[in-house]
């Protein structure tokens, strides 16, 4: 990997200042960025580590009942500390990568990267979460803008993610066994005002909401209610791990499994 300067600020304000320079790049847990740097696919002049900022870590419950997770919180901590507040989210965090990845990788890093096969984007979009940054609050529906693309501006940091807690939720992941990413993953969450279904790993546009399934499930929250629904294979990811048609098929299967497990 190319060499770079390294800074490890202890406050959000210092991190924002450090990211202000040219060619500065934020470092979350590094589970994607470090392999990327090793392949020389990126050449930041400076890495600003977000791992030493206490105000960006931890899980808490807000007055309105929403679960807030600091942007620098590792997956393993979410899996443990969110379990009693939002079990569907904690279960998803506990399925990401492997134990070592979960000890380093962070929710902010995952959402900022927006890998089309990552798990967290499905939870954020499927929960209608709010992505809180150092400058603003972004609704999940506005945040994800296609594969590896988000609403984040240059130098903007995810400081917190707020999840409204649903009545029931479940994440079903069809694991790609070599990478442990989702070949297809579906997060289903049932709220008082309707059901949300978010799909990761499947589409060339990255995470997306399956609105036909949401509509059917909002009237009848059973796997049966969507048994005749399918998604178009066009626009799905097709690669050596699975064709477009295979992924489109899995979207239906995993959604039905998630509903059956949540209901």
């Amino acid at each position: 990997m190319y060499n770079f300067e390294f800074e490890r600020p202890t406050t959000i304000a210092d991190a924002v200042a450090a990211l202000g320079g040219d060619e500065a790049q934020a470092l979350g847990g590094g589970q994607t960025l470090i392999p990327t740097l090793k392949q020389r696919l990126a050449m930041p002049g400076k890495l600003v580590s977000l791992s030493g900022i206490p105000e960006m870590k931890g899980v808490c419950v807000n007055d309105d009942g929403a679960v807030s997770i600091g942007g620098g919180t590792p997956h393993a901590v979410v899996a443990r500390d969110a379990a009693q507040h939002y079990p569907g989210l904690a279960a998803l965090a506990g399925q990401i990568g492997d134990p070592a990845v979960r000890n380093r990788g962070t929710i902010g890093g995952s959402l900022a990267n927006n890998d089309p096969s990552a798990c967290y984007p499905a939870a954020a979009l499927g929960s209608g979460a709010t992505i809180v940054t150092n400058t603003r609050e972004i609704a999940a529906d506005d945040y994800f803008q296609g594969m590896f693309t988000t609403a984040l501006e240059e130098g903007e940091i995810i400081t917190e993610v707020r999840f409204p807690v649903p009545e029931a939720a479940n994440y079903q992941k069809f694991v790609q066994p070599a990478s442990r990413f989702a070949l297809v993953g579906v997060f289903v969450a049932k709220y008082a005002d309707g059901v949300r279904v978010a799909v990761t790993g499947a589409s060339e546009e990255g995470v997306f909401r399956w609105s036909a399934a949401e509509e059917a499930l909002s009237g009848n929250f059973t796997a049966d209610a969507i048994k005749d629904l399918t998604v178009e294979a066009g626009g799905m990811i097709g690669d050596l791990h699975g064709s477009k048609e295979y992924r489109a098929h899995l979207v239906g299967v995993m959604t039905r499994r998630a509903v059956a497990a949540a209901a």
Binding site: I34, S49, D98, P99, A100
Partner: protein
């Protein structure tokens, strides 16, 4: 170059590293602790597993400067004070949990992290926890047996595959 300091296997150490120096390179090249292996160097195989502040992490996927001020444990610190193998290491020997041995330091460190959190894991829990460690010799079966045995459980319960 930047100064980095940490505790490794109970000893205070420090050194001068570049921003890009990985924790595994600091351990191997600066401290000559070569028991921590570099296998894939892409964060997939787990041969470089160490503990940082008690958590299992892949040291090829963490910058040395990120470990500043932490307590790091490596395979070199796992044996008992008298130099004899600890319970997990002995169980790997007893149950033939290794063939070439390249992945073994990582396997032992992962097993130690698992048993700290979950002293009596089921076979399924052991296999799930080993997802980040790759062994190309054993087929994992004897590794799982060794970890079962190290946790004081009956290994006969594991069916041959």
């Amino acid at each position: 170059m930047t100064q980095v300091s940490m505790t490794v296997n109970g000893k205070s150490v420090s050194g001068e590293v570049e921003g890009r120096t990985l924790l595994v390179n600091f351990l191997r090249d600066h401290l000559s602790l070569t028991g921590t292996h570099v296998g894939c160097d892409t964060g997939q195989c787990g041969a470089c597993m160490v503990h940082v502040d008690g958590d299992a992490v892949k040291s090829c996927n963490m910058l040395a400067l990120e470990a500043d001020g932490t307590e790091v444990a490596t395979i070199e610190g796992q044996a008992n004070a008298d130099g004899s193998l600890n319970t997990i290491q002995q169980a790997f020997q007893d149950h033939h949990g290794l063939q070439c041995g390249f992945c073994t330091p990582g396997m032992v460190m992962t097993a130690a992290a698992l048993l700290k959190d979950n002293p009596k894991p089921t076979e399924a829990e052991i296999r799930h926890y080993l997802e980040g460690n790759i062994c190309r010799c054993t087929g994992y079966h004897n590794i799982v047996k060794a970890i079962m045995a190290a946790s004081g459980q009956d290994v006969n319960a594991i069916a041959a595959e």
